[in-house]
């Protein structure tokens, strides 16, 4: 029991640390680099399997001492490794220019690898030491991980992420103490108590920073703070991100993306709200006078206000409120604004309410803390204008940093739903940064065309317009045909501000004056091709992936095509990196690195493990079985997180519910697996392997049922309240996860029966496969879709069952 609880604590802190590290690295560096670094560091889990396999003869007899030391080292390594990693002068932005950066990257991997390695040692050794109680140890392991996932989400609401590190140390010490308490000698118990006290005191002794010093100097926040007198005037923390509000009196922010060059307006003073130290969203000072807001009429996103009179507006992605202010300045009748981050709302409405002219408390403004797509799906109201804000920064957008973040807002289904809630004659307006050659603007256009076709519109081109400034594009989709009068208004609007019309019914290419020249007419040619019969051929031919995103493949920001890689690499030396979409190649690079290291970690022990003994699983089958399980479990979990994000409507709720749900129910499944095995053996139904076959068969059945029924179920239940939707999600997850918790302990128990020395090795294989699975699942989802990832998981469970089935024959024969 004490060991079980210790495993629970280590596992809890381990998962908490993994999620926390992702947050911290997203702040110090960038999200996509953070993913790569963590994936590699997580291989510490696989390495612990190898280490325990090689030295088990020495380690297992000294289990309590070794567990205790590793738990303490784990506790210490959580804050220390992060502090040490920050001393490495890694600048991922320079990685293609400066070979030294690769060395720094390896140093960071090795440092951050340590806590995972120590925790992995604790977990693996516990499994190897108690082969008869594997199902119980695994139960505590999964239960702990489930609580860790939930706990860290709660903690991130309470504390700044950098202060959470020391808190996560405490369970490490407590686990060490618990294991010592399990021993009989009084001295051991005294040491155990002392360790637990240390654990409780550690977070208090660890220096708390209050402010976060380690952020990359190349992030927007660092840059902004270099201006004389600039300072952070407020901060907010949540699992969604770290918001810092900067006041820069001497060098004002003056954020006005793509403002027309014919305009002379200067934006009024603004406060910059930085999300994770980048992606600035301004809070504009508003004193009730409209004259200082003239600049808002000089943006491409202001076009729909020229075409509508006192519209009812829905702003998706309100951020610091610029689009809400634009609606207010243009005389909107009512404004509903949706913002995901409640902390952002709090800043604009309360903390800086007066500065923002009480914009979010205005009687015409309704502010909703919700996920944009979910809000649209559930809305029963109609709007004259749906404005999708330009919230990501140009840099994040230009470097493809978001490439593998799912976005359910820019999918075909989402645009169809937005179109549904437009009033007749209403407009959907989406503004994006202009990139050369264009990517998102054309993908958006393609998405809108397909969405309109699916909504039963046979001539989508009659309802669309695309305009461009020197740095932004705005796409308009009208519920109804764009008339000649609308066309004249659009021309006049663009002429006065120096914008170009790339597509508009009734306007021929070259007919209007060009203000902003591109080296090729990418957008006007592209728009026409996407509306014509050559659409598929055009998308196939285009250098970037611009096929519309769907709910099954919600990766709007993924533009990378392998075909473009030679061009990117050849242009590297002369700054050809704009063509580079970073996240996807980084992911592939991560996969290759992880694969090579995993193979070494998995294969190395084979040379040392005792050969011989025909009973039980052979080495190859052990690899196949546990690798397949590691991949399948994570594939299933990741795909379900994605599917439930759409249903639950909030990424944090979805991640918490799904991760915790999966792990806790899988833990219960593990706990029940021994009973199932015994029951089946007693009745001599299917022998030892019956339970594994039953579990994998059940998983396959449930997964296929889920794929078939969930879209139908979720559509019908979309309007339920939060609690009801969480309950439905749990009901969907519970039986599947329960069964998914069984194959690992059942297989490991069998290995333990026949070749106990293989137990830590099998556990390490599973660890390595889990790491590979997280990376591989993203790549597969991008190319094949989430349903395909689930089906692959089913196939992998089938493969595991086959590997087991064959070894069972061998086992029974031997």
């Amino acid at each position: 029991m004490a060991v079980g609880l210790a495993v629970f604590l280590v596992s809890m802190a381990l998962l908490g640390h993994e999620i926390l590290l992702m947050r911290l690295l997203s702040i110090t560096q960038w999200h996509h680099f953070a993913s790569m670094i963590i994936s590699l560091a997580l291989l510490g889990l696989g390495a612990s399997g190898t280490f325990s396999t090689l030295f088990q003869k020495w380690l297992i007899p000294r289990f309590h001492g070794v567990f205790c030391i590793n738990a303490i080292l784990f506790g210490l390594a959580i804050p220390l490794s992060f502090a040490a990693a920050r001393l490495v002068p890694l600048n991922p932005l320079e990685i293609l220019w400066d070979p030294r950066q690769w060395l720094y990257l390896v140093q960071v991997y090795l440092i951050l690898f340590l806590p995972f390695f120590f925790a992995g040692n604790c977990l693996t050794l516990a499994l190897a030491r108690f082969p008869k109680a594997i199902h119980r140890i695994y139960f505590y392991d999964l239960l702990g991980a489930g609580f860790g996932a939930l706990g860290i989400m709660v903690l991130l609401f309470v504390l700044p992420p950098w202060d959470c590190l020391a808190v996560l140390s405490a369970p490490g010490f407590a686990a060490a103490g618990l294991v010592r308490l399990d021993l009989k000698p009084r001295r051991s118990r005294a040491v155990g108590s002392l360790l637990m006290l240390c654990g409780a005191g550690f977070p208090l002794l660890w220096p708390q920073h209050g402010t976060f010093p380690g952020i990359s100097p190349y992030k927007g926040l660092s840059s902004a703070l270099l201006a004389p007198g600039a300072r952070v005037v407020a901060q907010r923390f949540s699992p969604l991100g770290w918001l810092s509000v900067v006041e820069s009196p001497s060098i004002p922010f003056r954020h006005a993306p793509g403002m027309g060059l014919q305009c002379h307006a200067e934006p009024p003073p603004q406060l910059g709200v930085f999300v994770d130290g980048d992606s600035m969203s301004p809070i504009t000072r508003f004193d009730g006078r409209l004259e200082p807001l003239a600049f808002l009429d000089c943006l491409t996103s202001a076009l729909p206000y020229r075409l509508l009179n006192a519209p009812r507006v829905l702003v998706l992605g309100a951020g610091g409120g610029m689009d809400v202010l634009m609606a207010r300045a243009h005389g909107a009748r009512s404004i509903d604004a949706v913002e995901l981050d409640a902390c952002m709302i709090d800043l604009v409405r309360d903390a800086f309410g007066e500065y923002a002219g009480h914009l979010y408390s205005d009687e015409k403004v309704g502010i909703h803390a919700a996920e944009a797509r979910s809000f649209v799906s559930r809305s029963r109201e109609t709007f004259d204008l749906i404005q999708v804000s330009l919230l990501d920064s140009f840099t994040a957008s230009a470097t493809g940093g978001h490439a593998l973040s799912e976005s359910y807002l820019y999918t075909v289904e989402s645009m169809s739903e937005a179109y549904r809630i437009l009033s007749p004659g209403g407009y959907l307006a989406v503004t994006r940064w202009l990139k050369v050659p264009p990517r998102d603007s054309l993908k958006l256009f393609a998405t809108a065309v397909v969405a309109l076709e699916r909504s039963g519109i046979s001539t989508p081109g009659e309802r669309m317009a695309l305009i461009r400034s020197w740095s932004t594009t705005t796409l308009l989709v009208k519920k109804g045909a764009i008339s000649a009068e609308d066309g004249a208004q659009i021309r006049d609007f663009c002429n006065r501000r120096g914008f170009d019309i790339d597509f508009c019914p009734g306007v021929q290419p070259g007919e209007t004056r060009s203000f902003n020249l591109l080296d090729e007419p990418y957008l006007s040619d592209g728009a026409r091709a996407l509306l014509g019969e050559q659409r598929d051929a055009f998308m196939e031919r285009y250098k970037f992936a611009i096929e519309p995103a769907t709910d099954d493949r919600p990766y709007f920001f993924h533009f990378f095509k392998w075909r473009t890689l030679p061009e990117i690499l050849s242009s590297r030396g002369r700054g050809g990196l704009p063509l580079m979409e970073w996240a996807y190649p980084l992911l592939v690079m991560t996969l290759i690195q992880a694969l090579v290291l995993s193979l070494i970690l998995i294969l190395a022990p084979l040379f040392f493990l005792e050969r011989g003994g025909e009973s039980g699983m052979g080495g190859g089958r052990v690899v196949l079985y546990f690798a397949a399980l590691g991949l399948a479990f994570l594939f299933m979990e990741i795909a379900f997180i994605q599917k439930l994000i759409l249903f639950l409507g909030h990424p944090i709720t979805a991640a918490s519910v799904v991760i915790a749900g999966f792990l806790v129910f899988a833990g219960l499944g593990s706990r029940a697996s021994a009973a199932l095995r015994e029951a089946l053996s007693r009745r001599r139904v299917m022998g030892q392997g019956g339970s594994i076959l039953m579990a994998t068969g059940g998983i396959a059945l449930l997964a296929v049922l889920d794929i078939t029924l969930l879209p139908w179920l979720f559509t019908r239940l979309a309007t339920l309240g939060d609690a009801a939707r969480i309950a439905v999600s749990m009901a969907v997850i519970a039986p599947l996860a329960f069964l998914m918790g069984m194959p690992f302990p059942l297989g490991l128990a069998m290995v333990g029966d026949s070749k106990p020395a293989h137990v830590p090795w099998a556990s390490g294989i599973n660890g390595c496969a889990s790491v590979l699975a997280t990376v591989l699942a993203s790549i597969l989802a991008v190319h094949l879709g989430l349903n395909a990832v689930i089906l692959l998981a089913v196939a992998l469970y089938g493969l595991a069952a086959m590997a087991f089935g064959r070894s069972r024959e061998k086992f029974q024969g031997g």
Binding site: A224, T395, G573
Partner: protein, 247 residues
């Protein structure tokens, strides 16, 4: 005595020349590296000729790049990389631009011996030094006080007398010396400040790199017609310094 008196003016002339011409050590240890860099830039220009619309840049620009001591503009730790055709960190989250881009931007400005140029974002001062070799006067504004101070001192030490550096907000340009034949904005902005467009002479050109550090974005050329009409052109993607001051 006589000898001294006759050679005196020669020495004085030499001293005056040394003081008035920027320092280009003829036999400095980086000479061959610098020549290699220039050859590399020429190669890059040829390879990108389709995008930039020419197979070679203005020979004056290339001559200047072969003269200006880039190693004087980078931190000590980066000196050995000074003539690699890439951006280098100079501290404060800023970079010294890739030489190819400096050459291209200078060429795009189409300025000559009588031109007056405004630079927004001095950084290390390298771009200002390159411009100073070609034009009559360069006025450069830098937000970060420390960078402005170091760049001004460096430019002075290297003998660039026609460059004036000021700490401040580049948004409003430098009215006292306007209008300008060319403007370089080496700190990317979310929008182009209207005062800068106003301070551009009819027929003048403004070059702006758009985006973040070390990464490539677009290079934007803004041309002001004789009638004051404005036209922009997106040129090849480039890597440049980040947005400073959040414009």
């Amino acid at each position: 005595m006589v000898r001294i008196s006759t050679s005196g003016p020669v020495w004085i002339l030499a001293l005056v020349l040394a003081a008035s011409t920027p320092l280009h050590a003829a036999d400095d240890p980086f000479k061959s590296a610098r020549e290699g860099m220039v050859r590399e830039i020429e190669g890059d220009v040829r390879r990108t000729s389709e995008r930039i619309g020419k197979a070679a840049l203005d020979p004056r620009v290339m001559e200047v790049l072969a003269r200006v001591l880039r190693h004087e503009f980078v931190p000590e730790s980066e000196k050995s990389h000074a003539y690699e055709n890439r951006p280098l960190p100079i501290g404060y989250g800023q970079t010294i631009s890739q030489p190819y881009i400096v050459a291209l931007m200078t060429d795009l400005l189409k300025v000559g011996g009588e031109s007056v140029v405004l630079e927004v974002g001095t950084g290390s001062g390298y771009q200002a030094a390159v411009l100073a070799e070609i034009v009559r006067s360069v006025y450069s504004i830098e937000i970060i006080e420390e960078l402005a101070g170091t760049a001004a001192e460096r430019l002075k030490r290297l003998g660039y007398k026609n460059v004036e550096v000021r700490t401040g907000d580049g948004y409003h340009g430098w009215k006292e010396h306007a209008p300008f034949d060319g403007i370089v904005v080496t700190a990317a902005a979310s929008h182009i400040p209207p005062p800068l467009i106003e301070q551009l002479k009819p027929g003048g050109r403004m070059v702006i790199p758009v985006g973040g550090p070390f990464f490539v974005q677009q290079l934007l050329l803004v041309e002001k017609g004789q009638e004051g009409d404005i036209q922009t052109r997106q040129l090849l993607p480039v890597a440049f310094v980040p947005l400073t001051g959040g414009h």
